[in-house]
């Protein structure tokens, strides 16, 4: 594969990590003599962001228009229509992110570009074979794309390292102020920051985190008691926050918080990648799950395959004994 284009993702004046992860993979795929092309859409005032990109792309195509400041898919598509006439590439990489999920399938459908989503690996050897996961990470699939001039994949955040990017001397091609048309059918209004809660889980050294395996809001105290005994806090996976068993600000993962405690205890959490993204850098990860094949055991340091409702009360009791609060609490 000679030419791979990477859609640069940026938000609130920062380039998002996924961009560098994709640039790294693109370099690896094109090898020597190939071309990595960065596609940047943004406002002329955001041009400074390019300094972080151009050293790592053989060519940067910067589409600068005051209407491209924030991500708006209809406008961005119009820019892409133009880009596709000017830029030749065989593969386009976009993030499987809130922006990419809102854009890539439409681009693929509009131009009938063979595509697949949320890939964790890709090989080009003759045809293109992407690896993606199914069934919440329990099964992997090799997927081939129909042969075509252009193909598209969206890439899972964190799948490829962002470090050690090759530095190349790249050219920059600017396209200015050319997106025209009425795109008011979908318009960006503003960003809303997350609400601040009473407990800041990102500051805790010890986190006891509960997933759907906790079964019911009434069982939250089972985890709370352990957290209290350890001097930690209770956090959760998404379904627990969705069901309002715990407030949203306790949610760990891509759409929640990223935490890095000394110890993270995952109770009844399967370990979907969106959850892992928020806790995989914890010092020590301990998982308790009934299912020996739960993906959480792939990143945990220690695991117990058992019913959390048996393990947790027994563990809490032991910790209390150790602290000498055993009897007074019984």
């Amino acid at each position: 594969m000679e030419k791979i284009a990477v859609w640069v993702e940026h938000r609130q004046n920062e380039i998002r990590d996924i961009t560098f992860e994709m640039l790294g993979k693109a370099h690896q795929l094109v090898g020597d003599g190939g071309q990595v092309i960065a596609l940047f859409l943004g406002d002329p005032s955001q041009k400074g962001l390019l300094d972080k990109i151009t050293p790592h792309a053989h060519r940067t195509v910067a589409y600068l228009d005051s209407n491209l400041k924030d991500f708006e898919p209809l406008r961005y598509q119009a820019a892409f229509a133009d880009i596709f006439e000017k830029v030749d590439c065989q593969l386009i990489l976009m993030g499987q992110t809130a922006f990419g999920m809102d854009f890539a399938p439409a681009v693929a459908a509009r131009w009938e570009i063979p595509f697949t989503t949320d890939i964790v690996d890709v090989e080009v050897d003759g045809g293109l074979i992407a690896v993606r996961q199914m069934y919440s990470g329990k099964v992997s699939a090799k997927v081939s794309l129909k042969e075509a001039d252009k193909m598209l994949c969206t890439v899972r955040a964190g799948a490829f390292p962002a470090e050690d990017l090759p530095t190349v001397s790249g050219e920059v091609q600017e396209i200015t102020g050319a997106v025209e048309g009425d795109f008011s059918a979908r318009a960006f209004v503003e960003y809303l920051e997350a609400a601040v809660g009473d407990v800041d889980i990102t500051q805790a050294d010890v986190i006891v985190s509960v997933g759907r395996g906790i079964k019911d809001a009434d069982n939250i105290p089972v985890a709370q008691e352990l957290a209290d005994a350890l001097g930690g806090v209770v956090a959760c996976s998404r379904p627990v926050a969705d069901k309002k068993w715990l407030p949203k600000e306790r949610q760990v993962g891509t759409s929640g918080k990223t935490v890095k405690p000394k110890v993270y205890i995952a109770l009844g959490i399967s370990g979907a990648f969106q959850h892992q993204a928020g806790m995989k850098n914890a010092g020590t990860i301990i998982a308790v799950n009934k299912d020996p094949k739960a993906p959480i055991f792939g990143i945990a340091h220690y695991g117990i395959v058992d019913d959390l409702f048996k393990v947790v009360p027994a563990l809490t009791e032991k910790v209390k004994e150790l602290r000498g609060w055993g009897n007074s609490d019984k």
């Binding site: 439409a106 199914m134 099964v139 997927v143 759409s255 205890i265 150790l322």
Partner: protein, 263 residues
């Protein structure tokens, strides 16, 4: 307001021991329990809440075999008005693109101001059918929606971005939204409720009825293909602590002490 909701029937796999079948291209679904895709359940509830506030009709559509009537009936019991099932041997092997084509052909014939899908299906996890469908229909759309406000012909929605950040957008109807979990609290469906709609007719359409050629859908009409399934390598993996409950918790306490887990 006329709303269409696309719902999928998927196997529950979180606690199941999965087996890859002989073709190596699918899992063996014998013995698995199926239910409505979690995201789609939130989408059905979102449709009902809109209908309750401004009136209109809700049509639920599912692509799949007769068993998919279960999820359609469940949606009817929740409050949907009509149900349609799309099925044809030619649909076999459809990827997200071909699935969107099938749905696009069906919704063209049904009046709609709004189409809702889930953000993603729990089985294939593409997160792509909704947005591809919107593009094929030429509708404005928004993905990962966590809040919907309707004001005349304008929708104001929240989209979920990363790290708890949200984005506010406006859309003009007709439009398509992909619904994220947690947007509402889906109502409970009782056995009685499902019995009440047991006799309600569910429309069935095949490729021919939808004006789709066999080449346009299924494996032939797809842009991608599963070549092989395999179990992901576990990597280093966790050290599994075995023994009696007492031994297990004793070992855990030791680890906690060593690793700073007792603050």
């Amino acid at each position: 307001m006329d709303i269409i909701v696309c719902i999928k029937r998927v196997p529950e796999t979180a606690e199941a021991d999965l087996v890859i079948d002989a073709s190596k291209k699918a899992i063996d679904t014998d013995g698995l329990v199926f239910s409505i895709n979690e995201w789609d359940n939130y989408a059905v509830e979102a449709a009902i809440q809109l209908k309750e506030s401004v009136g209109g009709t809700i049509t639920v559509i599912s692509v799949g075999p007769e068993e998919n009537n279960e999820v359609l009936r469940r949606a009817l019991a929740m409050g949907a008005d009509e149900a349609l099932r799309l099925t044809d041997p030619a649909f076999e092997g459809s990827d997200a693109y071909a699935m969107a084509k099938i749905l696009a052909a069906a919704v063209k014939d049904i009046p709609h101001d709004l189409i809702l899908t889930g953000v993603q299906a729990d089985d294939d996890g593409f997160g792509a059918v909704g947005v591809a469908l919107a593009q094929m229909l030429g509708l404005p759309y928004a993905a990962l929606v966590t809040d919907i406000q309707l004001d005349g012909e304008t929708l104001t929605v929240h989209r979920e971005l990363e790290g708890g950040l949200e984005e506010v957008d406006t859309l003009k109807l007709p439009a398509l939204l992909t619904i994220q979990t947690g947007i509402n609290e889906p109502r409970y469906v009782s056995i009685m409720g499902i019995r009440r709609v047991a006799r309600k007719e569910i429309g069935v359409k095949g490729a021919g009825d939808l004006g789709l050629s066999e080449e346009a859908v299924g494996a032939k009409g797809s842009l991608s293909r599963i070549e092989e399934l395999f179990f992901p390598p576990v990597g280093e993996g966790a050290e599994i602590i075995e023994g009696t409950m007492d031994e297990k918790t004793e070992a855990l306490v030791k680890i906690l002490k060593e690793r700073g887990g007792i603050a």
